[in-house]
Symmetry: C2
Amino acid sequence: MTKARSRVLAALDNAAEPLSAAGVMEAIGQSCDQATVYRALAYLEGAGLAESFVFHCDEHGTERYYVKAAAAHRHWFHCRTCHRFVDLGSCVLDSILAGYEKEYGIRVKGHALYLTGDCADCAAKAGGA
Amino acid sequence: MTKARSRVLAALDNAAEPLSAAGVMEAIGQSCDQATVYRALAYLEGAGLAESFVFHCDEHGTERYYVKAAAAHRHWFHCRTCHRFVDLGSCVLDSILAGYEKEYGIRVKGHALYLTGDCADCAAKAGGA
DNA sequence: CGTTTTTTGCAAGTCATTCGCATTTTTGAC
DNA sequence: GTCAAAAATGCGAATGACTTGCAAAAAACG
Ligand SMILES: [Mn+2]
Ligand SMILES: [Mn+2]
Ligand SMILES: [Zn+2]
Ligand SMILES: [Zn+2]
C-alpha cells in the first residue's frame, strides 16, 4: 500500500458518504495528481477495499462515486437540494430480483438502485406543509 | 414538430429497446447532425414524448438512453453479453420506496433501478448447467 | 546497496455531450 | 402566398470526467 493509496483509502474511510474522484482530491488536499487518485481508486476497488457506482445528478453531472468496502451491499439516496447522500442500509431487493429472474429467465449478476428527492433536513426547510 | 425531431421520435418508436444518441444516429442513417440529435432528444423529453436514463456498462461506457414515453414507469435489465436491454415491465418498487421515506424521513421524487447479468438467450448459450 | 518492478506526475488524448454562431427552416401576421 | 421574426440546424470548437504514454521517482528484493 503506497502513500498515495493509503491517503485515498483514508479519505474514503473518513467520509460519511460516497466520494467522487474530485471529492477525494479535495479531501486529501491535492496531495497527489488526479491521475494518481483515479489509479488509486481503481486499485482499491480491484483489491476489494472500495466499491463504486456511477451516478448522475442534473446539477453535478455524471461521476463515479466510491465508498470504503462494507460487509453488505448497500444503496444510497441523493438529495437534490443539499446534494448529500443518505445511506439506506443493506439492500432489500433480493426477492424482487429473484422474481425478475424467474419471470424473464434472466440471470441477474449486478444491480443498482438510485433514489433522489429531498432529504429529511431539506424537506423540513422547504415545505412545512 | 420539425423533420429532424420526428425522425428521432420515429427511431425511438421503432426501437425495441432504449437508444443512446449514437444509436439514434445510426437508426436514422446520419440524416442529421449529432448536435441536432442531442437537441431533438432533449426537446422530446421536455415535451413529454420521450424518457431517458443514464446507464453505465463497462464495455459501452456511460451514456444516456432514450425510450418513447410510456404510460407507466418502467425499468430495464441490460445483458452484459449481448448488450440488449430487456423491458422489466412497470415498476414494482412503490412499497419499498414508501418504506424508505418513512424510515429515513426522506422524500423520494425519482429513482432508477438497473439490473445487469445475462439475458435468457445468453445464459442458455453460456452454461447449460 | 544495486537492480528490477511498480507507481507517480505531467501532458496529451478520449469520449459523450454541449455551445457559439452563421445559415436554414418554420411560424405568424398580413 | 409573402415576408419579417423566431426557432432549429450544421459545423466546429469547447467541456468535463476520465485515461494513457512516457520519463522520473519510489518501493521491492536479493
Ligand atoms: Mn448532486
Ligand atoms: Mn452494454
Ligand atoms: Zn438535503
Ligand atoms: Zn444477452
